[in-house]
């Protein structure tokens, strides 16, 4: 399969990339790892006339700690997340999630920025970003802005990114040492998108949950922040009755498609199962 013809641009600065994107308008697409876009182009489901390769922009790559936050450049690859000591030490849920994405070859090239900005409800990182209450840095021709991940997703492949804007980095507040976390993903095979998946980040103090945030993957047109379920867990001792209530609250906000991964009601139930497992694992890990 051969994609349609396009002109290739490789700007050396973010400013040039943003300039090109706004000048070329809807005919242009940014290219990061390419592992969503290139398959779409090969199937001719996307035929951009211009590709703007972000690989030449050094400032978009890499991880650093900035005050109490970890800042991850948009073109940082999944493999770089998997092998990062900073991630392993302070944001282990990112490593756990990356390892469930696709396969080794795809993780060498697929980027965090692409995963969160594409707006594909099947992508795994967005739900984790919702659970971590991450902030996205966005650059456009008229400057930069920051937006909460929880305000970013509007519909399938529709996000708060305006034409000409590029997501440049993800900022995540470092969760307290000893926090519990888990990403539970049900998939049919290696490389598959989730039938259902749940991300949990929580802290426990004095035998009770001090804080809890839950995100869900591939269970609606957008990733879901399960606010009500999170609230039910917070303050509890994670006893069975509370978990059952939270699972019911999470299941209630899902609206999955019936597809090759199963009928909608099955996927909703699997969302509950993934959440219960993620809560149990997060609890076991919390200090």
């Amino acid at each position: 399969m051969i994609p349609g013809p396009f002109a290739y641009h490789r700007p050396a600065s973010l400013q040039d990339a943003v300039g090109l994107l706004s000048e070329l308008g809807e005919d242009a697409r940014p290219l990061a790892g390419g592992h969503s876009l290139i398959p779409m182009m090969k199937l001719r489901l996307a035929s951009p006339a211009h590709l703007i390769d972000l690989a030449g922009i050094a400032g978009l790559k890499g991880l650093r700690e900035d005050g109490g936050e970890i800042v991850i450049g948009a073109t940082t690859t999944q493999q770089e997340l998997v092998t990062s000591d900073l991630v392993a030490g302070k944001l282990p849920i990112l490593r756990e999630t990356s390892l469930t994405i696709a396969d080794p070859q795809v993780r060498y090239l697929g980027t965090l920025g692409g995963n969160v900005a594409n707006g594909d409800p099947g992508n795994d990182m967005p739900a984790v970003m919702l659970a971590l209450d991450a902030t996205y840095e966005i650059a456009g021709k008229s400057g930069t802005r920051r937006l909460a991940a929880r305000a970013f997703y509007q519909s399938a492949y529709v996000t708060a990114l305006a034409p000409g804007e590029i997501l440049t980095a993800v900022r995540i507040k470092v969760p307290p040492a000893g926090h519990g976390y888990a990403y539970e993903k049900l998939k049919r095979k290696v490389g598959d998108y989730a039938t259902a998946a749940a991300a949990v980040v929580l802290t426990i103090g004095g035998g009770k949950v001090a804080s809890c945030a839950i995100g869900l993957t591939n269970l609606a047109e957008t990733p879901l922040y399960a606010e009500e379920a999170s609230r039910i867990i917070a303050g509890s001792a994670l006893d069975d009755a509370t978990v059952r209530k939270a699972v019911a609250a999470a299941e209630a906000i899902t609206a999955p498609a019936s597809d090759g991964r199963g009928p909608a009601h099955y996927r909703t139930k699997m969302a509950g199962v993934m959440l219960a497992r993620a809560l149990a694992r997060a609890k076991a890990r919390a200090a």
Binding site: I2, Y8, G34, I38, P104, Q105, V106
Partner: protein
């Protein structure tokens, strides 16, 4: 569409070429450089038969444009044998352990296993299976592929290969 000039190193050889931006790396390798070892299997980034090593990463060359590889260092199965023509330990392992039947997936398997062993010279069986999860084989059931990689890991470490009891 205007062609773009690229320069890259493939199996230690400097190559310069004009390519259309839409030319995929696997087509460039196979059709312009006549390196037909990287196979086109699924053509949808799943099967891994097109795997090559690009700047120290295993990549599926059906999902990379040749222009993205401008300046890169690439190694394909054609560059794996030792300079004296003898087989690389992985190639030898696949032969000795019967790690192939039809052979279609083998170039991709070997290139992926090569990078895996670079990063983790003595992987466990589980690490090998996780590490080759992006490469599909429809013949062997993977048992002998795993053994072939264990064989190569032992050879490269200079230790005798001990086949695990079944």
């Amino acid at each position: 569409m205007a062609k773009t000039q690229i320069a890259l190193t493939v199996n230690g050889r400097r190559e310069e070429a004009l390519v259309e931006p839409r030319t995929l790396l696997v087509h460039f390798l196979r059709e312009q450089l006549n390196l037909t070892g990287a196979h086109i299997g699924c053509d949808t980034s799943h099967c891994g038969a097109c795997t090559v090593d690009l700047d120290g990463k295993s990549v599926k060359s059906c999902t990379v444009f040749a222009v993205q590889a401008n300046g890169a260092e690439i190694r394909t199965i054609e560059g794996m044998a030792n300079p004296d023509g003898t087989l690389h330990a992985l190639q030898e392992g696949f032969r000795e352990m019967h790690g192939l039947q039809c052979g279609f997936c083998t170039p991709g398997m070997i290139m992926r296993a090569h990078r895996l062993l670079q990063e983790n010279p003595s992987p466990t069986e589980e690490e090998i299976r996780f590490g080759i999860a992006g490469n599909l084989c429809r013949c062997t059931g993977y048992q002998n592929i795993v053994k072939a990689i264990q064989y190569a890991a032992a050879r490269l470490a200079g230790t005798p290969f001990q086949e695990a009891a079944e």
